[in-house]
Amino acid sequence: MAILVNKDSRVIVQGITGREGLNHTKAMLAFGTKVVGGVTPGKGGSEVEGLPVYNSVAEAVEALHPDVSIIFVPPFGAADSVLEAAHAGVELIVLITEGVPTVDMMRAVQEVKALDAASRQAGGKGIRLIGGNCPGLVSSGETKIGIMPNRIYEQKGRIGLISRSGTLTYEAAKLLGDAGLGTSTTVGIGGDPVIGTTFADVLPLFEADPDTDAVVVIGEIGGADEEAAAEYIASHMKKPVVAFISGRSAPAGKRMGHAGAIIMGNVGTPESKLAAFAAAQVPVADTMPQIIDLVKQVLNK
């Protein structure tokens, strides 16, 4: 078991013939991910890595019955690709693309949520978007739907990991692996101001997962997602959670790379995030390696 995806998840790649799409298709196949095909408008009927390419997601869905679509489409068409997958009925959509206009994301996220609600009302499984500007997700030892380095996710573990930052997810996963703890599922939710899935959306899945013992939340400055996560943890979580906040020394008013990582006035400060976690009795690590010490402590309680 793992959350969201497992070894049986069938994956299609939107933008499979592009440079990133192709490279990461190869890496995912090497990891053992069940990539079953791809989509590139105009290249339908061709093959990539022995996989069939379709002109539309609808065609790919009809032929391949995928559970997941991962998107490597350039920024101007990325939100449209999300909607194409959602309307074709793909249950889990992972948007890797960085630099998608915020207004496009607002509209796409809102429409996906409406489709999700409609699907659930009709007795379906719903539709979920993860990202954009995210590294994807991986259930260790089972499947990787993303761009993470394969090596650090080969061993299964029992710690859930959620992060707004790609690189810090790798860092944390490696530390957890080296410490003999390992990860169950890692979800990179993305660094943009408007994203499909937040910390608070993923936490209940880990709470319900019998193969996860504790959760690590890697947040950063900007927005109030960590505060919302802390609130959820305080009122709903029985499993222990450990947090880390990146960008604690960043100056206010400057955008630190991630479009979402900006302190505006008194919103998004490290202080308010630390206070929220303190109120929820979630220990916060000062450094990345300290995450390991804290995880060990909460597991021994």
Binding site: M106, E111, V194, K254, R255, M288
Partner: protein
């Protein structure tokens, strides 16, 4: 991308917002000419990309053309929070006592995954101060990103905020402002103050406009408004390479792959007792040439005494990073000590390449803390 007040006003005017008339001047003589033309008291306002211009002395009421000339002399060339004023906006003055000032703004709000419309009956002050002092005075309303703000919603918000005046006209300005925000891909649009005169008619006295850089590809006319003089020269150069770069005030140059890891790298440098000279994210999947340009950029900064490169390769290959660094070294561009932590995809290949170079300038460390300490130590030498 931030816009100047005069540019934001011009954009709002395009959307039919009633904006206070004004013209840009670059010399005191031009200020006087405009004041003469208007034939009434004017306000001379510094055009720089920072808030708090009034407090810094960059906004001055000028009852006569001579006084306007004098104020133009004072303000042009002035330094406001590190930015030099090289142009002013000369606008017709409004008798503030004969009306009321409000605040309205549209801001990208991650908590509602859309824009939030904010309105407050206490205009004229900085919204951050307002939010800190009297958060309950600000009315917030989520705007649907597909339909935009409807006039009835705007009227409801204006009523809740306690706005007085012609409700339909005020709502109309809010609707037009929100249309501008959505159609022009803004991160932020503010009208502050929104002046309501004795007849109840609204007028935008000042604006803030910030456009989403990611959407500039569909607004080529806005992209042309980018003014390089507002930024640090190194930030301008970084933008050409497509780097996320922020100039900071320390002496340890910082370079990493991914916004998250670079933010944490800044934290680690601080923890080691140093101060970062910059934030530089080379992005995902960077090839050797990109890394080479990044090293070149950081090396150019006269404040930089050492460089800390922190790489955890995923989509980025560590050996490509190594090749870029080595190229910079071989070409004599790299002259400052580089302390590195390099891990992840193609880590072994990278380490082998760097070991072969065998230069005292480049040293590798097993973790980012040791690398940070070494880089900070070098910066202090």
């Amino acid at each position: 991308m931030k816009l100047h007040e005069y540019q934001g006003k011009e954009l709002l005017r395009r959307f039919g917002v009633n904006v206070q008339e004004g013209k840009v001047a670059y010399t005191p003589d031009e200020v006087r000419t405009i004041a003469n033309e208007y034939g009434q008291p004017v306000v001379v306002k510094a055009q720089v990309y920072v808030g708090g211009r009034g407090k810094a002395g960059g906004v001055k009421f000028s009852p006569t053309p001579d006084k306007a000339y004098e104020n133009g002399q004072k303000i042009l060339g002035m330094d406001i929070k590190g930015l030099t004023v090289n142009k002013v906006l000369v606008t017709k003055a409004v008798d503030i006592d004969k009306g009321v000032e409000y605040y309205v703004g549209m801001i990208v709000d991650r908590n509602v995954q859309s824009f939030t419309l904010m309105a407050c009956a206490e205009g004229g002050m900085e919204i951050e101060e307002l939010a800190a002092e009297r958060p309950e005075a600000i009315i917030r309303h989520r705007v649907d990103p597909v339909t935009g703000l409807r006039p009835y919603e705007a009227r409801e918000v204006a009523l809740k905020a306690g706005f007085k005046g012609n409700l339909n006209k005020i709502a109309d300005i809010m609707v037009r402002m929100s249309r501008a925000a959505l159609e022009l891909d803004a991160n932020l649009v503010e009208i502050n103050p929104l002046f309501i005169d004795e007849n109840g008619t609204p007028l935008a006295l000042d604006t803030k406009f910030d456009v989403d850089d990611n959407a500039l590809f569909r607004h080529p006319d806005l992209a042309e408004l980018r003014e390089s003089e507002a930024d640090h020269p190194l930030e301008v150069e970084a933008a050409k390479y497509g780097f996320a770069y922020v100039k900071l005030d320390g002496s340890t140059g910082v370079l990493g792959n991914g916004a998250g890891i670079v933010m944490t790298t800044l934290d680690v440098v601080n923890r080691a007792g140093g101060k970062p000279a910059n934030f530089l994210d080379i992005g995902g999947g960077a090839r050797a040439d990109i890394v080479y340009n990044a090293v070149k950029l950081v090396s150019k900064d006269p404040d930089v005494k050492s460089i800390f490169i922190n790489i955890f390769g995923g989509i980025t290959r560590a050996d490509e990073v190594a090749k870029g660094v080595i190229q910079a070294l071989n070409e004599g561009i790299l002259t400052k000590p580089v302390r590195m932590r390099i891990a992840g995809t193609a880590e072994d290949e990278a380490k082998a390449l760097l070991q072969d170079v065998n230069s005292d300038l480049i040293k590798m460390y097993p973790d980012m803390f040791q690398a940070a300490e070494a880089a900070v130590e070098e910066a202090k030498k």
